[in-house]
Symmetry: C2
């Protein structure tokens, strides 16, 4: 029976069987790293992290984020921000006005996520046309 | 009315209003880049790309991929491979044995996706423990 502390290593693990130290293991089905990857790899997370990074050290309000991440629904934006806040990537500040104003900014941890997300975005934007053409010819054949 | 050729720029676009050239635009709701980002940012895509990269220049069979991406279902693996093939990131080779053997490898385009995916994985694995602790204390408060 696998232990329940998340240190179980699958046969497919690349990390060996030693101590995990500070690392998770994407290839360990018992490790939450793969769920984390799905959260940070989503388009809305990417768009929010990029906008907050660009606004830094300033903050952005909910309505500003909604405008900048054109196409996001109120519900999806609220959900993604809650998830980012729960993961300690985004900090939320409520201003005691009437009605209250809510401001968002990246935490230090959230800022550290910017470079890999920017690299993924750069790849996606640079290769979108190539992939579009490839998909079109695959569908046509 | 926005044009239907995918060149419409939202007010939130970071790319200005010039020609897109070879680039998509994540912040353009009419551009397929954001759907592409969701596909390449998923945990299964990451796991398959990493395994095929590690096996390169060799190929991997379906059953080998299934074993190495522990926890993936038959259906999800087949679906993800089809999507990667459709995006021209993975090439499929059918060997005419009985039963036929199917081999997978990264295309050149697929190899170019490895560095950003490896960076995202590195970030997720390195920060999993920090995020776990942060989430636990957020839930407890």
């Amino acid at each position: 029976m696998p232990p329940e502390d998340g240190t179980f290593h699958s046969p497919g693990s690349l990390e060996g069987t030693g101590s995990l130290g500070n690392r998770g293991d994407l290839f360990d089905p018992a490790c939450p790293t793969r769920r984390l990857l799905d959260r940070i790899g989503s388009k809305w997370t990417a768009m929010i992290v990029i906008q907050l990074h660009d606004a830094s050290p300033g903050e952005l309000r909910f309505s500003e984020l909604k405008r900048r991440a054109a196409g996001v629904s109120q519900k999806m934006l609220a959900q993604t921000l809650r998830s980012l806040e729960h993961d300690a990537l985004v900090a939320r500040r409520v201003e005691g006005t009437t009605p209250p104003r809510v401001h968002y900014r990246l935490t230090e941890l959230g800022e550290s996520l910017y470079p890999p997300i920017a690299a993924l975005r750069e790849w996606a934007e640079s290769n979108m046309k190539t992939i579009d053409s490839a998909s079109a010819s695959a569908s046509a054949s």
